[in-house]
C-alpha cells in the first residue's frame, strides 16, 4: 500500500459560442438627460462579470469614463433579443453588439459636435475622457455628457444606437462536406499532479497549472477568476460531483449538499495560470471567450495523472475511490489494460 504520485496533461480548443444554427445578440444604447449612457441588454450576468466588461466596451467605444455607463440586463420583456449567456459567447457576441450600438450612438454625438463646432465629423477626435475636440485644437472641445443632455432639451434629438452581432447559420455543403463551424478558437493546456492512495483509493489533487490563450482580455482580473473557479469545477467534476452512485436504489441519490459532494477549501490544490493574448479577428477589440473551457482541460489532465500514478485508466466520471480500487484489483489480477 502506497501513495503514488503522477502527472497528467490535457489541452482544449474552444469554439466560442453556438456556431451552427445562427447565433445573434442585440444591444440598444441611449443617452439619458444626465449625460450617462444606458446600455439595454437581454443577456444575463451570471456573476462572471458581464455587466463590468460590457460597460468597459461601451465606455471605450463612446470615449466616456466607465462610470458614465449604466448596464441594464436580463429582462427579456424590455431588452432586445439575445440567445443567452452560455457557451462562453457573451463577451464575444454581446460585446460585438454593444460595440456596434456604441458606434451608432457615437455618430449621433459627433454629428451634434460637428454642428456646434462648425467642422466636419472627419476633423473630430474623442479624447477618451468624455470629450470631443477638433483634431489639433484642444481648446475647441465639447463635453459628451453635456452634448447628450442638450440633445434632448435644446435640439429635441435622440442620442441612441442599435447593435447586433450574429454568427450566421452554417450548412454543410453537400458536394464538399465543408462548413464554417466556429467563430474564433481559444486554447488552453493544463498539467495536473495527483497523489493516489492505493489503500483507500482516494485521490488528492496537488496542483493544476494551465496556460491560456483567450484573445484580448477585457478585464484580466475577471479572466483569472474564471480560470481559477473553472479549475476547481473541473477537479470537482473529475473526482466528486455525481447524482450516482445511489445504492441500493435511486431513492438514495443525493438530494442536498451532504450527499452531493464537492471539494472544499481543505482539498484545494495549487491553482496557477498564465494567460497569453492573441487578438481574434472578429471579437470586439479582439476578444475570444473564456468561461466554460476553464472547466474542460483540468478533467482529462487529472484522469491522465491518475493513470500515470497508478496505472488505472478510468473512462467514466467521477473517479471515485471505488473506481480506483476496482482498477487496482483488475491490474493485480492481470486483467487491467495498464
Amino acid at each position: 500500500m502506497a501513495r503514488l504520485r503522477g502527472t497528467g496533461i490535457a489541452a482544449v480548443n474552444y469554439p466560442t459560442g453556438m456556431n451552427l444554427g445562427g447565433d445573434p445578440s442585440q444591444a440598444l444604447i441611449h443617452a439619458t438627460t444626465s449625460g450617462s449612457f444606458n446600455v439595454v441588454l437581454a443577456a444575463a450576468d451570471l456573476g462572471q462579470g458581464l455587466r463590468t466588461v460590457m460597460a468597459q466596451i461601451a465606455a471605450e467605444t463612446l470615449g466616456v469614463p466607465y462610470g458614465q455607463i449604466v448596464i441594464q440586463t436580463a429582462d427579456t420583456d424590455t431588452g432586445p433579443h439575445d440567445m443567452g449567456t452560455f457557451a462562453s459567447r457573451a463577451t464575444h457576441r454581446v460585446g460585438n453588439a454593444v460595440k456596434a450600438a456604441a458606434i451608432e450612438a457615437r455618430e449621433a454625438v459627433l454629428q451634434l459636435a460637428s454642428e456646434e463646432l462648425e467642422v466636419s465629423i472627419a476633423d473630430l477626435v474623442l479624447d477618451g475622457r468624455g470629450g470631443i475636440q477638433v483634431a489639433g485644437s484642444p481648446q475647441k472641445r465639447r463635453d459628451i455628457a453635456d452634448l447628450a443632455s442638450r440633445a434632448q432639451f435644446q435640439y429635441g434629438r435622440t442620442i441612441a444606437g442599435r447593435g447586433v452581432y450574429m454568427k450566421p447559420k452554417s450548412d454543410v455543403d453537400p458536394e464538399t462536406g465543408a462548413m464554417d463551424p466556429d467563430s474564433t478558437q481559444a486554447y488552453a493546456c493544463t498539467v495536473a499532479e495527483v497523489e493516489v492512495d492505493t489503500e483507500t483509493g482516494a485521490v488528492a489533487v496537488l496542483s493544476i497549472r494551465s496556460a491560456y490563450e483567450v484573445g484580448q482580455q477585457v478585464n484580466p482580473a475577471l479572466v483569472q477568476g474564471q480560470i481559477t473557479g473553472g479549475a476547481w469545477m473541473g477537479m470537482s467534476h473529475a473526482l466528486y460531483e455525481t447524482t450516482e452512485p445511489c445504492y441500493p436504489s435511486r431513492d438514495h441519490s443525493p438530494k442536498d449538499f451532504a450527499g452531493y459532494l464537492m471539494p472544499g477549501m481543505a482539498e484545494l490544490p495549487i491553482i496557477e495560470a498564465v494567460v497569453l493574448e492573441v487578438p481574434s479577428s472578429n471579437g470586439p477589440y479582439g476578444v475570444k471567450g473564456v468561461g466554460e473551457m476553464t472547466a474542460n482541460s483540468p478533467i482529462p489532465a487529472i484522469v491522465n495523472a491518475i493513470y500515470h500514478a497508478c496505472g488505472v485508466r478510468v473512462d467514466s466520471l467521477p473517479v471515485t475511490p471505488e473506481a480506483i480500487l476496482r482498477g487496482l484489483d483488475a491490474l493485480a489480477q492481470g486483467k487491467g489494460a495498464a
Partner: protein, 168 residues
C-alpha cells in the same frame, strides 16, 4: 397555532416581530425585516449562505426558529456595513476579487469576521476549518482564502497602530 411576538436585538437596535410559530430567523430577516444579505441557498443547513451572527457567533439562520433568538443579539452584514465605505473584511474581499456572483459572500464575510475576532492570525487550515460550512460555486475558493488572509493582515496592522497609539 396563534402568532407570537418575538423581541430581540438586531444590529444594536431592539426589534419586535409578529411571527407564525417555527418561522425561521432566515425568513423573518429576509421578508419581514428586509435584511436580504441573508441568503437563501438551501434551507437545510448545507450551504452557509444564510449565516448571521448570534451573540457574535456564526449560526445558520435557516435552521433557527426565530423564537430561539428572543432576547439575544443578531447581526447581519447590513448591520456591519458602514453608511460610507466598507469594513476591513469587505475591503479585503473586494480587493482580492473574493466573489463572482456574490451569493456566498455575506456568509463568508460574517464567518471571517467571527474567525478573526477569535483568532487574529489564522493559518490556512484554520481558515479552511472555519469556512468549511460555506459553499461557493463560482470562485474555486482561492481568492476567498486570499481575502481572509489579507483581512487578517490588515486587522493586525490596525491593531499595531492602535496599541502604539495607546502606549504613547
Amino acid at each position: 397555532m396563534a402568532s407570537v411576538v418575538v423581541a430581540f436585538e438586531l444590529g444594536g437596535r431592539p426589534v419586535e416581530v409578529l411571527v407564525s410559530p417555527l418561522a425561521t430567523l432566515q425568513q423573518v430577516l429576509r421578508t419581514q425585516l428586509g435584511h436580504t444579505s441573508v441568503k437563501d441557498g438551501c434551507r437545510q443547513g448545507g450551504c452557509g449562505s444564510c449565516t448571521v451572527l448570534l451573540d457574535g457567533e456564526p449560526v445558520l439562520s435557516c435552521l433557527l426558529p426565530v423564537e430561539d433568538v428572543a432576547g439575544r443579539r443578531v447581526t447581519t452584514l447590513e448591520d456591519l456595513t458602514p453608511v460610507d465605505g466598507l469594513t476591513t473584511v469587505q475591503r479585503a474581499f473586494l480587493d482580492a476579487n473574493g466573489f463572482q456572483c456574490g451569493y456566498c459572500t455575506p456568509g463568508m464575510e460574517l464567518v471571517t469576521k467571527a474567525l478573526l475576532e477569535r483568532n487574529p492570525a489564522p493559518t490556512r487550515a484554520d481558515i479552511a476549518e472555519a469556512l468549511s460550512g460555506n459553499v461557493c460555486r463560482c470562485t474555486g475558493y482561492v481568492p476567498i482564502i486570499a481575502a481572509v488572509e489579507a483581512a487578517a493582515a490588515a486587522g493586525s496592522a490596525a491593531a499595531v497602530v492602535a496599541s502604539e497609539g495607546a502606549t504613547r
